[in-house]
Amino acid sequence: MSFMSNIPLPDGILEKAKNILGEDNTLFAVVGDIKMDGSYGKSALVFGRDKVAAFDDAHENGYTSVDYEDIERAKVKRLYGNALFRVKLKDSGKDRLNPDGGNKNDNGGKWVNLIRFSYAAADMADAAAVFAETCRDEGYSDNLLEAVRSTYMKMRSFCPKCGRKLPSPDSPCFNCAGKGKMFSKLAKYVLPEKYNLIFCIILSAVTTGLSLMPTYITKIMVDDVLPNKDTEKLGKIIIFLILLYIVQYLLTGVRQYRLRCASDGIITGLKKDIFAKAQYLPMRFYDKSSTGSVINRVNSDTQTVKEFVMRISQEAIVQFFTMVGIVIIMFGIDWQLALLALCPIPLVVFISRRFRKMVSPKYRRLWRRSSAISTMLADSIPGIRVIKAFSNEKRVINKFERYCDEWRKEDQHTGMYAAIFPTLITFFVSCGSLLIWAVGGRWSVNGDYGVTAGILVSFISYAATFYNPVNFFANLSDSYANAIASAEKILDIIDAEPEHNFGAYKNDEPLQGKIEFKNVNFSFDRSKKVLSNINLTIEPGDIVGIVGTTGSGKSTLINLIMRYYDDYDGEILIDGKNIKDIDMGYYRSQIGFVQQEPLMFRDSVFNNIAYGCGDVHVEQVMHAAQIANAHTFISKMPDAYDTMLGERGVGLSGGEKQRVSIARAVLKNPGILIFDEATAAVDSETEFLIQGAIEKLIRGRTTIMIAHRLSTLRKANKIVVVDKGEIIECGAPDELLKRKGKYYKLVQIQSMSEQLLKEKQSENFE
């Protein structure tokens, strides 16, 4: 097997490790990026079958080693922005550290820091700590190394080309994909509109050709018609020009309509895909991205990209045709004057490139400001009740005004560049016209090179038209920079790794409901472990209560069962099958989840109950509502099941919303039920009603209940006590009460507080 190391070992370390551990006894290494004194530098732990060697300048001779059998505990101590690999040596009075030399002090019973590292190495170090402890207890086996290898493989998900970390193993590397690839991804949305776009391009070519004719006719007028006072020819030319304009503007109108249709198609496709993708993005994405920035991407960025696509696919082509057409005509009329007209081009191209370099970063800043406004809107408008309740209107307004002012300042700053550069370009373009006047005018006056007044006038006119496309291409960089910034944000969602295996596996077998956690460890980020070493078995039909203080990790356990987070260490099995091998859509359809704050959608009560159930019979919905003790209050409302709920269920009380959400779960008829503090936010009377609904629902189903009020768990046949991310007690309620541990204490505390409450209430009544 190959040697594993999170990053390559520093030179010479492996040789030294082989000397300490034995030639064929180096299995894997954890390479740290911080020295013990806190400065950046390399350190390493090299693990063998029976001991670990640590390399850091802080150790005597630059290294130390410890036998696994001398380790009482091995752990990763997470600090702020860094971590330590520590071992506690067994207390027996002898020198257990570096027995081959170096430190000869009595260090038994002490904690020793072996190496320091940033969070980049934390996962591998965690696996290494478990490896060392298990080797001490059970001796080395290949299976133990496999556990380390699986963590190593998860970490190794980086691009083979550039070495950057990938969002997940085997996913494409954003860094190595060029901007061309980015546009080819966006081409997917343009292709369905190709016929419309091609039709518009043909119309463009025709209208461009037509638009060039009047200038040529001007030359004829100046050189032939006016000097010869040929009024008949003048009349014919006027009629011809009228017909020309009618055809030209008619075709332009048709083109504009078809373009609108095409652009609507592109933007709709983009919006649909972003929204659809957003539904399948893992919770981790939403943990880190604000809803405002996602909304901004759907609304504003799609618009920016669409505008750019239209400019590229239409205007750019039209302007290109115009430019080529004019060049051909100009060289056809007079090649010397044509060369004069082309003089400012290199300057225009140079300024344009410079402009693009300068303006791109400004658009990124502008995007940040604009996103901040969207985020503020997305936060404050739905939270208007809280704002009002705290009379916080003024502060919110001030904050919003500050964001708007920052945006305005940034936009004006960007606008200044956006204004100066095109103006500069226009200035040079105008200088080009002056050059034609200065040189061409002299030639015309002197009668040199056959330049007539008609040729000069038409040339000036062509030059002015010619500089339009030049100007357009020069300014294209502005919208290009803007579009790149937006396209990046869009692709950030479209290319993001979705939740795994939706529709990947076929599974029609209903779940029996046996749930097993095997050595599950989890952290939201690397700075703090939320769940440690979770081992738990729940049998089909069990009613399990999960109790613990706030922040102990109860809801995280549920989040893992729901597969909101899939990147944990260890395994979760349902009916003996790893949940990661079950189709995600099917899996979640088998679980009924009732949350503390049930979310209602802006729809009728009926549709809120039938949410996610497709075609469902009216009586099934009413039956579900009856089981959930919701039917009575629904039927008393004037519009009963047709009652439209406002945003977030406005119109229903907390307890009513909870019962509607239970009815939702009833209708789903799941094999596994999860209640996350379902009765925490309601009064005792409502709790009684909800409790009754729950008891009807859970019969014969595996049920997991998180509850602060232990009275809610009176039906539970198993209690799991979670504390600081670990299961500290697990068993039947009576058994745990006899043990007089944490559960016993919780029951005692609650009984006392309930007793006090009753006494207080009776005092008040008296």
């Binding site: 950046y40 991205s289 604000s290 990124r364 944000k489």
Partner: protein, 163 residues
């Protein structure tokens, strides 16, 4: 629980094993061993409101302001916090490559040179009102620019578009 505030030199702190302190109250003679220190405001007020917590995570006291402690204790507390909190101060940016919003930065910090990756510049780079900038890399490591306006011209050019 009522917080036990330490206002002045009524408690003595001694550093232990770099990341722990022993806390002793002069008047009562109470001794708390192997305590850990946590900043309550690691971003906005590094030297004020330092929680003293025991091995079980229970808070035993709160230092209102480190500067009010006696000199030895102040040093012990500062050394302990310096050891625990690793947020290198960025002094200079030497290189930045950016594609698709994923950056690779090379920076000179007070702890040495470091290369790190940023995934989402909106959430990872947080400018504060006092010109400070906090950066969190793809591995959740943290960095600080004490005052971005005081960076050299090249560094400023690199960081400004992302603020």
């Amino acid at each position: 629980m009522i917080l036990r505030y330490i206002d002045g030199p009524e408690a003595r702190f001694t550093l232990k094993d770099k990341i722990f302190v022993d806390m002793e109250f002069y008047h009562t003679g109470e001794v708390f061993k192997d305590m850990e220190l946590r900043r309550m405001f690691p971003v906005s007020g590094k030297n004020k409101y330092i929680a003293v917590i025991d091995g079980d995570g229970n808070e035993q006291a709160m230092i209102r302001d480190i500067s009010n402690l006696d000199e030895k204790s102040r040093k012990a507390v500062n050394d302990c916090l310096e050891e625990y909190y690793m947020m290198p101060r960025i002094l200079k940016f030497t290189e930045m490559t950016d594609k698709f919003g994923i950056w690779m930065w090379t920076a000179i910090t007070d702890k040495g040179e470091v290369k790190f990756e940023i995934r989402n510049h909106i959430t990872a780079v947080k400018p504060l009102f006092d010109n400070r900038v906090l950066i969190k890399d793809a591995n959740d490591n943290r960095y600080e620019i004490p005052d971005y306006t005081k960076l050299d011209k090249h560094s400023l050019k690199l960081i400004t578009p992302n603020l």
